[in-house]
């Protein structure tokens, strides 16, 4: 483990940014958001969550797939995908980092999504353990925890220092590049980090949603929950926007569209939302014609369909963004509780 003074975090980011594009959380007019780091920027490491998760660096909201250029009778097909260069995501919370495991199972399983794979291989993640979880946090319900070790470099803040522990070869290489700024850790440092981890775990244990249990969702509960009468009341206030989907670190559905540039066609993919009325629109019609069905789909996917197909792993990391952002105050916790999950 290495360390540096927390006040030198900006200098560290400057140094990291000299060899790769760095994205770090900064304060904006709307909470904190990842920004491309530029010298002179101020890093914000004390917000629980950014508004959008770092998912977008691996699975952008909108991404070019291919272009078609026409000249006379010839059509040229141009592969204009992202070329790929190394980048660093700095200060991602454990819940957000663990959400990538969920996306990996979708995009990196055969057939591999080469667009996602390229960004995954170029990305280096500096995870930052939480120090003050919010009331909307429930990562422990999914076995994560506010100081869960994950990413390429695991970071902790304690006693005015920023501690960094490389977890992967990529992480070791990234720290190597800035090694002259870092100092080695001694026993007292190890203890400071252990104490910080114990402290945040203790806070999390007392968080209002810490006891959320998903026992009711164990096994294949498709039939049990699909026809539940609860969906009516749960979905009634839903206004059918895509907020929950777009702030969610694990939502992965996309649409492929084409755009007439005036001198050719650009084919791109963009995030889609199962809350949208045309999400399942096909040539033969639309099997989900009501908001109840769309709402049910979103939560069944996260709590039932995904785990049934992925060794019981739920497609939620408990980041709490849907609790904070839904215009009608609906969220996955309400659904879990209404369908039989308990909070003890």
């Amino acid at each position: 483990m290495k360390k540096l003074e927390l006040t030198k975090a900006s200098a560290l980011l400057d140094a990291l940014a000299s060899g790769a594009t760095v994205y770090a959380p900064e304060k904006t007019n709307a909470g904190s958001a990842y920004k491309k780091w530029q010298s002179g920027d101020a890093v914000c490491l004390d917000e629980v969550n950014t508004v959008k998760s770092p998912k977008e660096f691996f699975f952008p909201q909108s991404e070019n797939l291919v272009s078609f250029l026409r000249e006379g009778k010839k059509i040229e097909i141009v592969d204009d995908r992202w070329e790929g260069e190394d980048f660093i995501v700095f200060g991602a919370r454990p819940c957000d980092v663990r959400s990538l495991d969920i996306l990996d199972r979708v995009f990196l399983n055969d057939p591999v999504d080469t667009f996602y794979a390229a960004r995954r291989s170029h990305g280096v993640i500096f995870t930052l353990a939480c120090t003050a979880p919010g009331e909307t946090c429930f990562c422990t319900a999914f076995g994560i925890g506010p100081a869960a070790v994950c990413g390429d470099v695991m970071m902790y803040t304690a006693g005015g220092s920023l501690y960094m522990d490389a977890q992967t070869e990529k992480g070791t290489a990234a720290l190597e590049r800035v090694s002259d700024m870092l100092s080695d850790c001694g026993e007292s440092d190890e203890k400071a980090v252990d104490d910080a981890v114990d402290s945040v775990n203790a806070i999390m244990e007392k968080a209002p949603l810490a006891g959320l249990s998903l026992d009711a969702f164990k096994g294949d509960t498709t039939k049990k929950f699909f026809d539940s009468e609860k969906w009516q009341e749960l979905s009634a206030p839903c206004i059918g926007c895509g907020t929950c989907t777009f702030v969610c670190p694990t939502c992965q559905c996309y649409d492929i569209r084409e755009f007439d540039t005036g001198h050719g066609i650009k084919r791109f993919r963009c995030w889609d939302s199962c809350m949208y009325s045309d999400f399942t629109k096909m040539a033969g019609g639309n099997p989900r014609t009501t908001q109840l069905e769309r709402f049910r789909q979103r939560f069944m996917h996260k709590l039932v369909y995904y785990p049934v197909n992925n060794d019981g792993i739920y497609s939620c990391v408990g980041c709490g963004r849907c609790l904070a952002k839904c215009p009608a105050h609906l969220n996955i916790v309400k659904v879990i509780k209404a369908l039989g999950g308990s909070n003890e």
Partner: protein, 329 residues
Amino acid sequence: MQKTVEMIKAKCAELLADGTVRAVIAWRDGEFSYDKAPGFFTAEDIGSLCYDCTCAPNLSKYLVKEAKKEGRVAVLLKPCDTFSFNQLLTEHRIDREKVYVITIPCTGKVDIEKIRDAGVRGITSLEETDDGNITVHTMYGDKTFEKNDVKLARCFYCKGSADIEADFNAMEEKKAPADSDRLEEVRRLEAMTAEERYDYWRGELSRCIRCNACRNVCPACTCEKCVFDNDQSGVASKANANTFEESMFHIIRAYHVAGRCTDCGECSRVCPQRIPLHLLNRKFIKDIDDNYGEYQAGMEAGTLSPVTAYTKEDADPSEAVFMKNGGEG
């Protein structure tokens, strides 16, 4: 306020029991007391109806669907929601006979984001004290705010109550408008140079994630199928194919609701990126006021907005808008 809530609850229970209405649209408790959700109540669960300084959602838009169903539905309307309700009646989106209107008092709503901006984390509950302060209970201790410091922006410019015939009035007296100038922020933007204004809006709108929350919550956006959701329209856009598109979406939407927007402020309340979308609408409100005389959409049901009622005295658009801005547009 608690007495009033009990009275409202009793009235709703009575309406459900005697079959006057089949459901009541009100608010239901959430996880943390500040996140009360719109709810549809029946006789079985009307006891869990709640109402306080955190019940910000405007319930009037739910009526577009609910009033199409069999039977009558009761709705709780705060003073600002009465404007939206009137406007929906004007646009024939709601059959008045199908709705039982309960007008309820409001002393301003709390903006949880302002409390978070003040550095407060882990908010487990909050309450309005008798002296009008807001006490916030958190995982890290309690904190008390003056309500004005944490009020929703729209409440500083409260329009009071519209002219409405309620079926049951739970307000002691008609709410008067706030003594403030809601167009002051628009004037501030107008005073900028075109370039500064462009930069301001590009900065704000660049955060847009196209979640459509502003559109879907808007009581003036009641098209069965939005042009932006229609594959056949040629402008359907789920994502921003270029950086100007999110601006176009919001500007076109503001044009579409011009003269119909009551300034309820829901668009800005729900925006996950906290874009001050209501300022686009207020610009239109100001221009309409300046060019056609003062007009408040939804003040009473059945009135024609100046942009839909042509008169020979109407201002010439090119003179009224273009020249006034020194030809800058």
